[in-house]
Symmetry: C2
Subunit: 302 residues, 2 copies
Amino acid sequence: MSMAASPAPRRLGVGLVQMQMSEDGAANRDKALRMTREAAGRGAEVVCLPELFGSRYFCQAEDADCFALAESVPGPTTEAFAELAAELRIAVVVSVFERRAAGLYHNTAAVVDRERGYVGKYRKMHIPDDPHYYEKYYFTPGDLGFRSFATEKANLGVLVCWDQWYPEAARLTALQGAEILFYPTAIGWHPAEKAGLGDAQHEAWELTQRAHAVANGCFVVAVNRTGFEPGPPGAEGIEFWGRSFIAAPDGSVLCRAPTDSEAVLVETLELGRIEEQRQGWPFLRDRRIDAYGAMSNRFDDS
Amino acid sequence: MSMAASPAPRRLGVGLVQMQMSEDGAANRDKALRMTREAAGRGAEVVCLPELFGSRYFCQAEDADCFALAESVPGPTTEAFAELAAELRIAVVVSVFERRAAGLYHNTAAVVDRERGYVGKYRKMHIPDDPHYYEKYYFTPGDLGFRSFATEKANLGVLVCWDQWYPEAARLTALQGAEILFYPTAIGWHPAEKAGLGDAQHEAWELTQRAHAVANGCFVVAVNRTGFEPGPPGAEGIEFWGRSFIAAPDGSVLCRAPTDSEAVLVETLELGRIEEQRQGWPFLRDRRIDAYGAMSNRFDDS
């Protein structure tokens, strides 16, 4: 049996920016631009920023004044990053609080690329609502479906935070050809829960996303914010747990940022591992697409 | 705000039987009955056996003689376990190589219960085919869909081995009301791969199933065989890796069997943790059932 010649290895430098946000939006954006530049300087060709890095995590309270933080997409933030992407010859996954129309806002992540500038956007499909994560107040659920964006270097799947708990979201994005699933994220501990539940919560979060890498045979990049952000009166605030990471298609963790400090991580991904993994464990081959119709049911109690 | 009175705690003793199989089918079945009895003696009310415990893992080769191992379901094996279940007042998840008709065989798991005897069966939906796991030769893919079985004590979701890599299978079974997902399993290392890939393979296997527990807020019980089984001429055999385990709805591992020896594990599950977990992380509430239609596509390259 003769074997085909192997193609040249496809390597991609991926950078993640784990940031702490202040109340000063201009300072947040400047820091995000600076840390993106640092990632590119260390070899990143694609950089991902955390969820809603332009501001503190305002969803700790329901406050109509916070809608003033929203902007159009494309808009000022994607333009600033598109300019930087062109200069540095990279692509960037940019999370933005999107104002679509009066009274219509989304939690959006855009892709900007060195060649094309603004490439497209994904609007967060799964919107949480838990005490002090009052996102249903602010964000209309996405209506663009699940999306992967072909860029010059790789096919980039973009999801946002709460989506990371949904195997459906990972699968549907992978089926669009995503080689890497990016999850800009804002997750942390309520201080009163941390001692009792903190480790279990973090472990569930990380293993769930590593499992998406395994199930789909692709890379996963989760990018969280870090640091304590005070809450509104009567609330205790949120301690964002950092620990941004990159997982390989076998679910192994390639790198992980610390809990308590900002970090720029850059990792060279061997994209050939995707096909190798999927040949070894050919899950996509055996999906029972004739039997998944009930995925569109809320519950099977009829 | 007045709080409703809490219901009485629902506790369920769950046992798993990690076995090594010999070439003697009667001895395998006798051992399975004996170990099930041991589990019940230690408090198990539901017991799960490994995949195809009636024989060695014959799928290491394609051999038409092995079809002689198949039997009807219900049939002799389910009857033997139904009798034991009645005596011990338990339920049992029983994996059987099912002969449905001439030339039509399934990899099946039945539920037998103390009250009703044979309750029903699930036929493995996802069939693997990898070197020395030649299951597509033997097993017709299941045509009963994904199933959960209401028993007196709990709602038991039944899946089999390769299904454990599919988040769709876990989700669809949970949506039927399963409180526990049982995975009778036969997974191990090819000896030549163990040093290089063994740890990563095992870790991917365990974390994937723990992620099903998290995503669905239910318990997961994975029951593997243990021990080395020699392969056909020219093959090196399989070293089944044991490490059967039970995961809680937060993904934590409640108990784990060793790699190299048989084991009966019994764990008392607090079924109230399911609702508690799902209230804390309400993933089922936010599923985008309007946007999951493409789960029924093979790939989105149209």
